[in-house]
Structures are given as C-alpha cells and as structure tokens.
C-alpha cells in the first residue's frame, strides 16, 4: 500500500479554507485549530477526506465552560479531538460558542461516533447540536433541571453533620435507624 505524503494540517486547512481558521495554538505538543462555528462541518469533512490528512477517528468531544470572567471569544469551548490512524497523530479542532443559546452544527454525519459524545455535552453543558439525530438527555434523568457541568451549577453537596444540624440532615433519611 502506498501511503500518500502526510500534509501539515494547519497549512493545508489555511490554504483550503482561509475563512474558517480563526487561530492556531500549540501547547505541550497538541495543535489546536480554532475554527468559526459556521465552518465546523466543512472543516471536519475536509480533515477526514483529504488524502494526506485522513483524520478518520474521532477520539473525543469535550466541552469546557469559561464562566465567569472569560478571556476567550465565547463562554463555551467545544474541542474535537481527532486522530488519524494512518499517520498516527492527533489534532484538536476547537470552536468557541457564545453564552446566549450556544449551538453548533453536529459532526455525527462525518463521524457517527460523535452521537453520544455530543448528546452528553448537550445534557451536561446545555449546548445545542443542530442536526443531531437524537438529542435527549443522556446521563441525567429526563426531568432534570439545569446542566450540571456548567461552572455556575453548584456541586450540590450535603453539609457535614454536627449535633446542631443533625435534625435537618436526618430529615432526608427517613429510613435511617440506630
């Protein structure tokens, strides 16, 4: 099998879609390409199908919330960690989404495995993935209020029990006995 020469993803993408790329960063050997949310699907398609890139495996989709005082273009960041099994290298494609009604196009059409990863983010972060086939809640119960992984969602812990607040806490435990 002849493997085509590997291309540098950053220069190739900048050449093919100059409008899409907003920023390129590198940290600890990871390359991050920040793209405009509108271009995400086209960029993903390009990265998967271009010979010399072939990012054919979606490792992970992670969302991060920069609440409260973000020095980023948007409150939410969604990172797509893609992997090329052929060239054995990884790439991070990142989009920044605004605080109001964050939404981005789905990549399930390109990598079907994104299905649940995006569903999880929709559940835990409240980001809408336009065009997703089935965007029900995944991890939390259907009737849950809020999106637990947002930074403004409280961790929601129970206070430590002392003698002064024992009655308050024991109210939650009707079945507890000595």
């Amino acid at each position: 099998m002849i493997i085509p020469q590997a291309l540098d993803p950053v220069t190739a993408l900048k050449q093919a879609m100059p409008d899409a790329v907003e920023d390129v960063r590198e940290y600890g050997g990871d390359i991050t390409i920040v793209v405009k949310p509108d271009h995400l699907q086209a960029v993903s398609q390009y990265l998967r199908d271009t010979s010399g890139l072939v990012y054919n495996f979606l490792s992970d989709v992670s969302a991060v919330d920069y609440y409260p005082d973000y020095n980023r273009p948007g409150r939410f960041g969604v990172s797509y960690h893609i992997l090329s099994l052929l060239y054995k290298r990884r790439l991070r494609v990142k989009v920044y989404l605004p605080e109001e009604a964050p939404s981005v196009a789905t990549v399930t059409t390109i990598w079907p495995g994104a299905n649940w990863l995006e569903r999880e983010i929709a559940d835990m972060m409240g980001i809408d993935f336009v065009g997703h086939p089935d965007l029900r809640r995944l991890l939390m119960p259907d009737d849950w209020q809020g999106h637990p992984h947002r930074r403004d969602y409280p961790l929601g812990y129970e206070t430590v029990m002392f003698s002064f607040n024992a009655d308050e806490i024991m109210k939650h435990k009707p079945h507890a006995t000595d």
Partner: protein, 421 residues
C-alpha cells in the same frame, strides 16, 4: 367488548401511548402500531454488567432496534475533580473504571504531567508499565469470568477469580488497597516497590500462562462456546472506526491499532510485544484477542522486570510539583515549605488544555484537562472506551437474536462506571 377509550385516564394504556409518542423516530413505525414488541432490559438485569438499560424493539426473537439508556451510575466525578487540587483528584479517577483503576490513574497523571510539563524518571515509567499490565490482566480476568457466566460456563468464573485474587494481593502490597490503589501520582508513583513484591510477581508470571491454557482448554475449542460466539455481533472495521470503537473490540475487527504500539506513552516503546488481531470482528475474535493479550502482557511484564533498575527514583524530584520525602523534612527548611505548600494549596497549572490517551484494557481512554492558572482544573473530561462501545451497540446488535445480545454486550467489555463516570 367493553374496550376503554384512550381518553379515559383510568386506562393503563393511555400512559403507555404517551410514552410511545416519545419514541417516535427512534423505533420503527411497526412498534407504534404494536406489530413489533418493545422490551425493556435492565437496569437491573443479571447480564448487563452493571446498571445498563436497553430498550429493545423485537420482531419475534430478532432485535430490530436497540436503544441503550445509560446514566444510572453517573457519579459526577468530573465535576468533583473541578473542586479538588490536582493531586487530590487521583483517588477519584480510580473509581471510574473500577476494573482498571491504574489505567485511569495513569491517564489522569499523564494529562497533569503534560499540562505542567513534568518529567517522569525512567524507573517510574517502567514501574507504571508493570502496574498497567497487571491491571490489564486483572480486568481481562474479570471480563472472561463474567462473559463466560453470561454464556453459561460457570466454572471459568471461579478459575479467573482465583488468579485475580493473587493480583489483588500484589496490588494491596503496593498500595494498601485491593482494588482502588491510587498508586500513580503526578510525576511518578506513590512509593517504591516493596522488596517482596517483585519475587511474588515473578512467581505469578511463571505459572500464569499455564492458567491461561486452562481457560482456553475450557472455552477456545468448546463447540458450545464457538456456536454461541462465532459470527455473532460482527462489526466491520470501517464501521468500528467510524463509531469510535477502540481497544480489543477494534482489534477483533482486524485493525491493528494499539496505542501502546502506535503512539507509545510511558516508555512502552522499550518493550517487544505483539498486537493480536482478529479477522471477522465477531464475539469469538474479540475473545481470542483478549486471551492473546493476556499472554502478551505477561511478556511485557517479564521484560519490564528485567529492565527495572534496582535503585533509582520512583518519582520526579521537581519539588514544585512533588512533595519531598519524609527524611528530607528534618533537615531542610525548603523541603518543609514545599511540603506545606503542596499539601495545603497544591501546585498551579497554566490556563491551557491538553488531551492524553492511553490504551486501557477496554480501549482508548482519553483525558482532557483544562487548567485555570490556579491550583484546580477548570474542566476534566474522560473519554472512556465503554461509553463509545455502548453507543455502538445498536450497530452490533441489529438483526441478532435476543439471546446473542447478552454475548455481544459481554464481548465489548463494558463497565458502566467507566461509561457514566
């Protein structure tokens, strides 16, 4: 006939019709008319390996649609880690994939090390490799035992747990805990191997391959086992890659992709081992891949024991990230300051993001870590293999009999703690 109308609120069917509405688009039209049957399996079901719920649409015995429902073990570990300093989060990572705690530790520690730029001494890397491979054996043994029970072979379970007990004794020797060792730390491991550990491990590695022969004698050529597993749950390599299937399940489909070999971490490039690959991508091939992986793990550990220097650091000596040993505290004021700072505040990591992936026993385990510039992470996200495997179950189970579903769920080796986190 006195049939009640659906409008009557006393009609138990009315509620059912309401829930059918929610399933529109997810199951076929035939289910809505009642032609096919909807069956709920789980979350309490003996063979779903934990609290997995599957909503099945059945045409007779044949599975048409499989809708997995997860989250019954969602623990909020990722959110909890956000409120802890970097080092204190290690014990939480153990409890995600409770069959492979050391793999989780390592994925997290590698991410922290990458984020702060911490180097791990070579000896510590080899120690990590030994622990990781022990974890792989541990996990595969539980998988083999439970998978065999699911398919009706009871005695394999008893044999597998006999060997696993030996591994747990060694984990306990290392860390003081049988299962949740939390042995890895950012910068290395918690402490040196105790002197009696390596002889015990060598002894174990000496007889373990013959025990694998025993399991194989019970299963590999067993006609019942072959009938129930061959040609069941086939997933083609292209589909497996597209659905993010990784680890032994991907290799069972014939893709020789092992992160230990392809993108080595923690010094795996030092060792000589093979990557077993299946052909057909069915349950039997996934079984064979794991069995052969156990033998490869033994080889890796034997090489690692040979390569392990007798003396040397087991943890980085960068005092900004790694607390000083107790002996130093009595002599150096600086050590006391470092100790105090690290145990009260922890270390700070830059406001950057990293992604690290390792080959856990189940597949590609990724850790995404985003710092804040302070001592706590902004976001941790674990991409876990079980999560991807359960999401690909609809592809694998389509058109199979419901009895085979149990074999398929077992063969992709799902751990619900790993899936839901």
């Amino acid at each position: 006939m006195a049939l009640q109308t659906a409008a009557n609120t006393n009609d138990p069917m009315a509620e059912w019709a309401g829930s059918l509405e929610q399933l529109k688009g997810l199951v076929t039209e035939r289910a809505l008319t009642g032609e096919t049957m909807l069956l709920n399996m789980g979350p309490h079901h003996p063979s779903t390996h934990g609290v997995l719920r599957l909503l099945l649409e059945l045409d007779g015995e044949e599975v048409i649609t499989c809708l997995p429902d997860i989250g019954f073990l969602h623990t909020g570990i990722e959110k909890n880690i956000e409120s802890k300093s970097y080092e204190k989060a290690v014990p939480l990572t153990d409890r995600m994939d409770y069959l492979a705690p050391m793999s989780n530790n390592t994925a997290y520690c590698l991410a922290v090390e990458k984020l702060v730029g911490l180097q791990v001494p070579e000896r510590a890397q080899i120690m990590r490799v030994i622990c990781l491979e022990m974890t792989r054996l541990n996990s595969h043994l539980v998988w083999l035992g439970t998978h065999a029970i699911d398919l009706g072979a009871m005695s394999v379970f008893l044999y597998c747990f006999r060997e696993r007990e030996e591994l747990l004794k060694m984990f306990e020797m290392l860390s003081g805990q049988r299962m949740m060792g939390s042995y890895m730390r950012p910068g290395g491991v918690w402490r040196d191997f105790p002197p009696e550990f390596l002889p015990m491990l060598e002894n174990f590695l000496g007889y373990f391959p013959s025990r694998v022969d025993d399991y194989e004698a019970l299963l590999t050529k067993n006609p019942i086992w072959m009938d129930r597993t061959q040609g069941v749950g086939v997933i083609e390599p292209e589909k497996a890659m597209a659905w993010g299937v990784s680890g032994p399940s991907l290799r069972g489909s014939g893709v020789a992709w092992d992160l230990r070999k392809s993108m080595p971490y923690s010094g795996y490039d030092m060792f000589d081992f093979n990557v077993p690959v299946g052909e057909h991508g069915d349950v039997y091939d996934r079984f064979m891949v794991r069995i052969r992986e156990m033998r490869e793990s033994v080889k890796i550990m034997q090489q690692a024991i040979k390569r392990l220097p007798a003396k040397g650091p087991f943890r980085s000596d960068n005092r900004k990230f790694v607390p000083p040993p107790r002996a130093e505290l009595g002599q150096s004021m600086e050590a006391v300051i470092h100790h105090f700072k690290l145990w009260t505040e922890g270390f700070a990591a830059p406001d950057e993001e990293v992604f690290v992936a390792i080959e856990s026993p189940r597949g590609e385990l990724g850790c995404y870590l985003h710092g804040t510039g302070g001592n706590k992470p902004r976001r941790v996200h674990f991409k876990t293999p079980s999560f991807m495997h359960i999401s690909s179950l609809p592809v694998m189970t389509h058109g199979h009999l419901i009895a085979d579903l149990v074999a398929i769920v077992g063969s992709v080796d799902v751990v619900l703690g790993d899936c839901d986190r």
